[in-house]
Amino acid sequence: MINIEIDGKQIQTENGSTVIEAAHQAGISIPHFCYHKKLSIAANCRMCLVQVEKAPKPLPACATPVTEGMKVFTHSEQAVKAQKGVMEFLLVNHPLDCPICDQGGECMLQDMSVGYGGGQSRYHEEKRVVLAKDIGPLVSAEEMSRCINCTRCVRFGVEIAGQMELGQAFRGEHAEIVSFVSGTVDSELSGNMIDLCPVGALTSKPFRYKARSWELSRRRSVSAHDSLGSGLAVQTKNNRVLRVLPIENEDINECWLSDKDRFAYEGLNTADRLTKPMIKQDGKWQEVEWQVALEYAANGLRHIANGAGAEQIGALATANSTLEELYLLQKLMRGIGSDNVDFRLRQSDFSGDVKQQGAPWLGMSVADISRADRLLVVGSFLRKDHPLLAARIRRAARKGAQINIIHSADDDLLMHVAHKAIVAPDALVEALTQVSKALASEKQGQSASGEAGAIARSLAGGERVAVLLGNFAQQHPQAAQLQALAQQIAALSNGKFGFLGEAANSVGGYLAQAVPGTKGMNAAAMLATPRKAYVLLNVEPELDCADPQQAVAAMQAADLVIALSAYKHHATEYADVLLPIAPYTETSGTFVSTEGRVQSFKGAVKPLGETRPAWKVLRVLGNLLKVDGFGQDTSEAVRDEVLQGVDVSAKLNNAIGGVEAKAAPASSGLQRVADVPIYATDAVVRRSAPLQATADAAIPQVRMHGEELKKLGVQSGEVVKVGQGQGSVQLFAVADDKLPRGVVRVAAGHAATVALGAMFGTITVERA
């Protein structure tokens, strides 16, 4: 610890910290633009100049390390004169048209110029003009003349997002921020540049000219689009969500937000929002009153339960439904005598259910990931499935952690990967077995060869080891075996293992018991052996289920499909009742993040039209069906009933026993590798126009190893016909030599590939 004095205040601070950090710690504000606590120090704006005793000239507080006995004056005559001078220079080329600037009212430069600028400009010459740039559908660079060249956006790209998509070109007065790789900024974290930009140079494109900052009311919410549980500040005006910003929490999302969380709100008020209950009569959809629709649904369920039997009713929910919704859904199903309820729609291996001892979770806290020094990530499209967790891992890698990957695709993770084993899906279990064996022999002092040996050595050499199973591993047909192997590897390397949860409530679904018991059917079984009636909660079966062909067939064969949905989607083709329910901004609820953090939120705006929160709809259905225990008045009452005051951490357990790892029978033909594209994961995201205009939302391609394509006689860039089961689609083929042989990568969950079958398994490719 070092003792310094700032403005006469005695401060103890850590050795190696800078003056600005010490000052902020003590609650003394020093004006700054380019300094940001999460980014490296550039010291190029010069706004933070302070006077330091014995220094002849003012020094930048952000780049001056503290020394013992240092005396700093932030408001001395010299410091203030320097700060005023810098401010005047910054404003020389900055347009003084705050009234039309979108940043007006929340602009650092505006605030600082009130504090440190002069009342009148002495500059009457012409100002520099920087041409507008189009850097994609999310970030607006229309007003680059406003840029003060602090380079925060550039440093963010390099240090956090992992790719330098913006850079500073030219020198002196001609210096400007340009995108020089592909013309657009395609990072899945690009929205953070909007927050970082201290002026109005980079602003939100969807929000452009929509409202001023002082008109918006802020509501605290929780992200519904990935499992991290990022804190959201939902900003609303006139009962409409106009913008979403991050709420800072060092343990979860720090000060960042992924583009998915930030721009998904644009999908909330689309034209296909369902605003009135509808029932199908004589093949025609009719808008009806709630009472009519609910009674129709209840009578239908009662009829089937009494006739064909309650086990003929199945309930499917998505994992981004709230805890309360999932709990009431399973309670309703069990109340009418059916045990068929599941929320793990993309999972294909349920053999672990009986061997699993608790709710599968991250196995550690999110912050632990940053502290890990050896990581093994199994089966994860890390960057796209978990953008902010990937950023954490990226930072760990920058600090020296070794990242090891076992997966069936080799996407660029934009971080240094120490070792990787890229194998076909049916060889994934074998690859993990190899690593496990190599670790065991490593313990006995024998080094194994090959990639498995290298990964084992890397893990064995770590102090804080983390083994993480991604979405791909969870959806894998041998998921239970992968889990058992991960457990083995973690035990051998004295580390922790866990799951990178797929959706906002992947853990909450287990806590709500929205999984079948021993008598019930899981999601896959419910669709494989069609039920007579389905209750769908937030589900678009063709996009949310592991096997769209099977899902659609099951829906079409059913006598009664009750869809609780915020949107009029394809359910109109097979459903009988559509009940409009509120998306996460319009209802109160709870998400349990992948690290087991229980976060409740309130609705940010009123439900649109006659939409109602799903927990209320389910409660009324429970009452109509005369099921006991549906008298809750608030969603908080439902939550308390679920959690019963018990510590959630006691229910989280990844341990699995009695699973034997067996290599899968070698598959003949090509195997499918399917990712769910980042902007196709849930109903709201799929409807967000700006997100759908990004490069990540492009129509999926058929990616295969170049040699495999050559075997088919297809050139990269040609259209091919991909078939699975009865269905086939025509897509562009692209050679990707990083993929293992015998593998075809075609995305799932996308409208262009719904005609295909399961996410894993054989697939045929032929010339179109």
């Binding site: 009234p99 039309i100 229309e142 000219y209 001023r212």
Partner: protein, 162 residues
């Protein structure tokens, strides 16, 4: 004795004459009352009457939709909606002033960075129906177009005091 004097006073109509003398005095004095509507009081160029929206000489509306007037309005009488116009500029799609709420404080005019919203000298307007005094953007612009010469002259006269 007092009764006697009162008796004679009532005969001689002295009070009447006294009163008539006051009337007579003012009959020849300088007139103060303004005979509205035939006559009107003189107005300051700072008079704050009916609002108007101004245009630039080339016909372009001045308002840029910064919403400062909406923010400053103490009576919450202004409602603005903004969108990007086809040419990329920031423009209002809705600019309403509810004159029933307005207290004619002139803050909107003070806050306007482009002198778009102004209060004119006009005070002779009325509404016969509920909502007649809810002025929309079109009405305000029409006002401005009609009285631009006077508005410009008034701003010019006031400029040297600013």
């Amino acid at each position: 004795m007092k009764n006697l004097i009162d008796f004679f006073k009532s005969f001689l109509l002295l009070e009447l004459l006294k009163g008539m003398s006051v009337t007579g005095k003012y009959f020849f004095a300088r007139h103060v009352t303004v005979e509205y509507p035939e006559e009107k009081t003189p107005q300051s160029f700072r008079f704050r009457g009916l609002h108007a929206q101004r245009r630039y000489p080339n016909g372009e509306e001045r308002c840029i939709g910064c919403k400062l007037c909406e923010a400053v309005c103490p009576a919450l009488a202004i409602k603005i909606e903004v969108a990007e116009r086809a040419d990329g500029t920031r423009r209002t799609t809705q600019y309403d002033i509810d004159l029933v709420k307005c207290i004619f404080c002139g803050f909107c005019e003070e806050s306007c960075p482009v002198d778009a919203i102004v209060e004119t000298r006009i005070y002779e307007y009325h509404g016969e129906n509920r909502g007649d005094l809810y002025y929309t953007k079109a009405m305000l612009l029409a006002n401005g177009d009609k009285h631009e010469a006077q508005i410009a002259a008034d701003r010019a006269a006031d400029a040297k005091y600013r």
